[in-house]
């Protein structure tokens, strides 16, 4: 352990640091996207990279997302490690064909001859008062696409660790950045960031015995808060932060649910066809006889993301989580 003081840093700063360290460590890492150069990205995550590494390493592209991802595929085919920034979740949709038909399949269709070590950074989710098309949660689309890894940090330290791991991965990674956590601060030591773990491990953020909240990204903090509030109601909630949606850490999640016997999946993304269905279904398949109640889901409503003035009614909040916990058939136990 280094002796340098641990100072608070924002998630955006940790992401910048991860990019910088990755670029410094490996010449083949290239950043490209809209406004990533002089501006440093609309969220300032690429701040300073063009200056430090030159415009050929951190490149402002023309405004065309399919073109950005498509040229990144070509760059990766030549052996570079492109890190693509999509400006907002909904603006990654134009690149959908490139993502599904090429990025996710190139390794498989070439029988391993042509892997694509490529990271697609997508700021996602709401809670920032964004106007339409600025607050989508698009992870369900990526989860349903074999060949992609899908990860998302909930803490400043994970933002660094997961992004380094994503860039180091020999496979394409969709790296989902929770917009409303960009300015969240944690004590984090940039001079001694935690070791880069491989992608695919969930983590128990809070231990508890009554029930498990299974969550990720922007909803982790909300679940932690809910777990605190739940103490007043006599519930001791465990919070599992998935960190990686693909691969999925069945082991950690199921170990928790087998212990608690009850679970609620919490995410911002819409409920119908969203990640929660998959998670609830696989937990139930594996832990059926440990379950005292069905795995419930607390998610965004199945509506297009609402305008800023209504988003608080849409996003899963502490109350809604506790309501769900309350519906976990506690009487069955007593």
């Amino acid at each position: 352990m280094s002796t340098v003081a641990v100072r608070p840093a924002t998630m955006a700063q940790a992401l910048t640091r991860a990019l910088r360290d990755a670029m410094a460590a490996d010449d083949s890492v290239h950043v490209l996207g809209e406004d990533v150069g002089a501006l440093g990205g609309v969220f300032r995550v690429t701040d300073g990279l063009a200056e430090e590494f030159g415009e050929d390493r951190c490149t402002d592209t023309p405004l065309a997302e399919a073109g950005i991802l498509g040229t990144a595929v070509g760059m990766a085919m030549y052996g570079l490690r492109p890190v693509v920034e999509m400006q907002f979740d909904a603006f990654a949709y134009p690149a959908f064909e490139q993502l599904v038909s090429h990025v996710s399949r190139m390794r498989n269709r070439t029988r391993g001859a042509m892997p694509l070590p490529l990271t697609v950074r997508v700021p996602y989710g709401g809670g920032i008062g964004g106007v339409e098309h600025h607050s989508d949660s698009s992870e369900a689309y990526y989860m349903a696409t074999p060949g992609l890894h899908v990860v998302t940090p909930a803490t400043v330290a994970d933002a660094y660790g997961l992004l380094r791991a994503a860039i180091a991965s020999d496979d394409p990674v969709v790296f989902l950045e929770p917009k409303r956590l960009y300015w969240s601060k944690d004590a984090w030591n940039p001079e001694d960031p935690a070791p880069v773990e491989p992608i695919g491990r969930a983590v128990v953020r809070r231990s508890g015995r009554s029930a498990t909240l299974i969550t990720y990204g922007p909803s982790v903090a909300v679940c932690m808060e809910a777990a605190e509030a739940a103490r007043a109601e006599g519930w001791d909630l465990e919070v599992v932060d998935l960190r990686s949606l693909v691969p999925f850490d069945d082991e950690t999640v199921c170990a928790s649910v087998r212990r608690t016997g009850r679970a609620v999946v919490v995410h911002e993304s819409g409920s119908f066809g969203g990640p929660g269905g998959e998670i609830a279904a696989r937990v139930t398949e594996r832990c059926f006889h440990h379950l005292e109640a069905p795995v419930l889901r607390v998610a965004g409503f199945d509506v297009p993301y609402p305008p800023p003035m209504l988003e608080r009614h849409h996003l899963p909040g502490v109350d809604r989580i506790l309501d769900a916990v309350g519906r976990l058939q506690w009487e069955a136990e007593s």
Binding site: L39, D60, G129, V131, G317, D319
Partner: protein
């Protein structure tokens, strides 16, 4: 006879019997952008039109300033100002007839207002209220469009549909220089030309896509040169010369109305303000550049012309400013009233009939709101949500 047959079909015959194709020459833009103000052509311009344009420019400038101020006061979530681009905004709205359609990008609130939409309604999206505050059919103004260039195929489809129905409708679609790089730009222009749809595409080349300058956006001689690749005329105009923009757009609209098909117009202008209130323009451009453009300000140019030709005096200019102030005062007053949004409305327009699933979710929210109301307020902190 189908639309396809009406237009002389182009099909390469086998070499060596090569058939002459469409002559590209008339499709290419002039090397210099078209100008009226300050040239001899200005003398031919209709004084009434010039005065109308002037009043709208002054109003538009004031609207931009007021909306920006409201953003600082937290009354708007975001405002992408079109200061410096008012000539394009205003001309785009004024060249259209009642029955025509306007397809604005997210920057074109001014065009929407100039077309007659209530200034407060036009800001509905940007104040964080529901996504579109006006009825598009009532005003024949499509919703402000945020995903870049995606409104362009809509304009083509609408114009095509109107033509198939035999209606006299032209669609004018607005897009930025950055937006021309998107695939949707390409596909829309191609469909329009193949279908000979009555559409006018107005590219406001304001030099930047957020921070990205035009040189990183394209290597073309001009954006208007893209037109020849679709087989439609490309026109280049000084976008700060309101009379010139009006003339070029009016020509294009006339051409479309007469069945001549689409036109691509590139208006050279400049975004004087930052991209939006949230942007820091000092990161990517210097003041000197902005200052040069201030000397070529659309209001200044028109004012000079009007004054030189004696079409306006101090009183006239003051009247325009006062009218703009009145609009701004009204806007201010009405924007300071918080809109009342009904949370239950979340579910009402997802489908014509809510699905059973949405009815359940609606019930859930209703119960939550009732519980909240009973408890006086939320019993638990909602800090994590903001």
């Amino acid at each position: 006879m189908t639309v396809m047959e009406q237009r002389g079909a182009y099909r390469p015959s086998p070499p060596p019997a090569w058939q002459p194709r469409t002559d590209p020459a008339p499709l290419l833009p002039d090397p210099e952008p078209h100008r009226v103000l300050g040239t001899e052509a200005a003398a031919q311009a209709d004084p009434e039109l010039l005065r109308t344009l002037y009043a709208h420019l002054v109003r538009g400038r004031r609207y931009n300033a007021q909306a920006t101020a409201l953003t600082k006061q937290g009354r708007l979530a975001v405002y992408p100002s079109s200061t410096g681009q008012e000539a394009c905004e205003v001309a785009a709205a004024l060249v259209l007839e009642e029955q025509d359609w306007l397809f604005p990008s997210y920057r074109d609130t001014l065009a929407v207002v100039a077309r007659g939409v209530d200034p407060v309604q036009a800001l509905t999206l940007l104040r964080g209220d529901w996504h579109t505050g006006y009825d598009p059919r009532e005003h024949r103004v499509a919703p402000l469009c945020t995903p870049l260039a995606t409104q362009l195929p809509h304009a083509v489809g609408l114009a095509h549909a109107a033509r198939l129905k035999g209606d006299d409708v032209v669609a004018l679609a607005m897009v930025g220089d950055g937006g021309t790089s998107e695939g949707d730009f390409h596909e829309a222009l191609n469909f329009a030309a193949v279908w000979q749809a009555p559409v006018v595409f107005l590219v406001q080349n304001n030099g930047f896509a957020i921070s990205v300058p035009l040189a990183k956006q394209t290597a073309a001689p001009s954006l208007a040169h893209k037109a020849v690749g679709y087989g439609m005329p490309g026109r280049l105009v000084d976008g700060n010369d309101a009379a010139a923009v009006h003339e070029v757009l009016a020509d294009a609209v006339r051409h479309a109305r007469a069945g001549g098909g689409p036109t691509l117009v590139e208006a050279i202008t400049y975004r004087v303000d930052a991209h939006t209130n949230a942007d820091d323009a000092t990161r990517y451009r210097g003041d000197a550049e902005v200052d040069t453009w201030r000397e070529h300000d659309p209001i200044l140019l028109l004012e000079r012309e009007l004054t030189a030709r004696g079409l306006i005096d101090e009183d006239g200019m003051r009247a325009a400013r006062e009218d703009a102030e009145a609009m701004a005062a009204d806007l201010r007053a009405r924007m300071h009233q918080d809109p009342v949004l009904e949370p239950m409305d979340l579910f009402d327009h997802v489908y014509a009939e809510p699905t059973p699933q949405l009815r359940e979710q609606r019930e859930q929210l209703r119960a939550e709101l009732e519980a909240e109301a009973e408890a006086g307020q939320s019993p638990r902190p909602e800090g994590a949500l903001r």
